[in-house]
């Protein structure tokens, strides 16, 4: 059982790129990763680099581990990049005939990246539409006798906020879903082989 878990962890981490592995190794966050994981990590890194890079002091307390905002954003942005290569070894005549697994991995990563990038992009795009939306909203109050500036800006901001949220929802979730469908289909295809 323990051996099985170790093999599973090895398989999983072996598909990571070396840079990501070094980062996990250096941070040495034991609240997030188990001791077995670090043992496996050491094994993989030694295979790839010959020698182990220096490791930070082990973090056992969750409160001790405080990342900066930018580190958190960076980590969030690359969370789904774990799959950098096809994790199953391909032998002659064993691989799929209709598609290239590495292409699926690349598209999977691209979709995850675009889905996440769409959040800040949608916000920026939404902000850029404020002046013209305000002009349109103001045109509805052109005959008003009172100063409607506050109401105009309030309505504009609500419209922009709703528009931005909808754009995020309509792009983020379908892209994420499609990315996971691809990943699952690839696993199903692999398991369907003799």
């Amino acid at each position: 059982m323990a051996n099985n878990l170790r093999t599973q962890i090895y398989k999983n981490f072996n598909s990571y790129d070396t840079e990501s592995l070094i980062e996990i190794w250096e941070v040495n966050n034991r609240t997030e990763w188990s001791d077995t994981t670090f043992e496996v990590l050491a094994e993989i890194l030694q295979e790839r680099l010959d020698s182990l890079p220096p490791q930070g002091e082990a973090i056992y307390d969750k409160n001790e581990f405080q990342e900066s905002f930018f580190t958190k954003v960076k980590r969030w942005f690359s969370t789904d990049d774990d799959m950098v290569s096809y994790s199953h070894p391909l032998q002659e005549g064993n691989g799929p005939a209709f598609y290239d697994p590495q292409e699926v991995v690349n598209i999977y990563r691209w979709m995850n990246k675009i889905a996440k990038a769409m959040i800040p992009i949608s916000i920026v795009l939404g902000l850029s539409y404020i002046p013209q939306t305000a002009t349109i909203v103001r045109s509805y109050f052109i005959n008003s006798y009172q100063d409607m500036t506050i109401i105009v800006w309030f309505i504009t901001l609500i419209i922009i906020a709703i528009g931005t949220v909808l754009q995020v929802v309509f792009t983020y979730y379908p892209l994420k879903a499609l990315a996971y469908i691809l990943k699952i289909l690839m696993e199903v295809e692999h398991n369907s082989r003799k």
């Binding site: 799929p96 699926v104 598209i107 850029s128 469908i181 691809l182 199903v188 295809e189 369907s192």
Partner: protein
């Protein structure tokens, strides 16, 4: 009503349904590149259209105080930002459509592969 006979492909292994899916996947794959190309062309078209429109406005004196298009862009950054945002949005939409089409194409190819793998497995049993 008589039952319609199921058409059997000449090749028992690679059936007509696979061929159809293969064709759809190929179309999606080609469309992905086409969409990407069209989105770039549309962004260029947007630039040219906006440039012509603004030059027309300058000529008519609507946008006074500016000599030409480049002068307007440097004097009123809101125009250049707006143009950049529009072009970026067009390209971004193209990229998203292209990636989705490519993903659909790959998903269809994988489905063919899965079906063929199971057919082979059944044949073996």
């Amino acid at each position: 009503m008589p039952k319609r006979k199921r058409k059997v492909s000449s090749d028992d292994f690679y059936k007509r349904k696979h061929k159809r899916l293969d064709t759809i996947a190929l179309i999606a794959k080609i469309l992905a590149w086409l969409v990407l190309l069209v989105s770039f062309l549309a962004a260029i078209g947007e630039f040219i259209q906006t440039k012509n429109f603004l030059e027309f406005e300058i000529m008519n004196g609507v946008l006074g105080g500016t000599a030409d298009f480049s002068d307007l862009m440097s004097q009123r950054p809101i125009f250049s930002i707006s143009l950049f945002v529009e072009m970026f949005n067009t390209i971004l939409n193209g990229v998203i459509y292209a990636v989705v089409l490519k993903a659909i194409s790959l998903a269809l190819y994988m489905l063919i592969e899965i079906d063929l793998n199971y057919s082979l497995m059944n044949e073996g049993e």
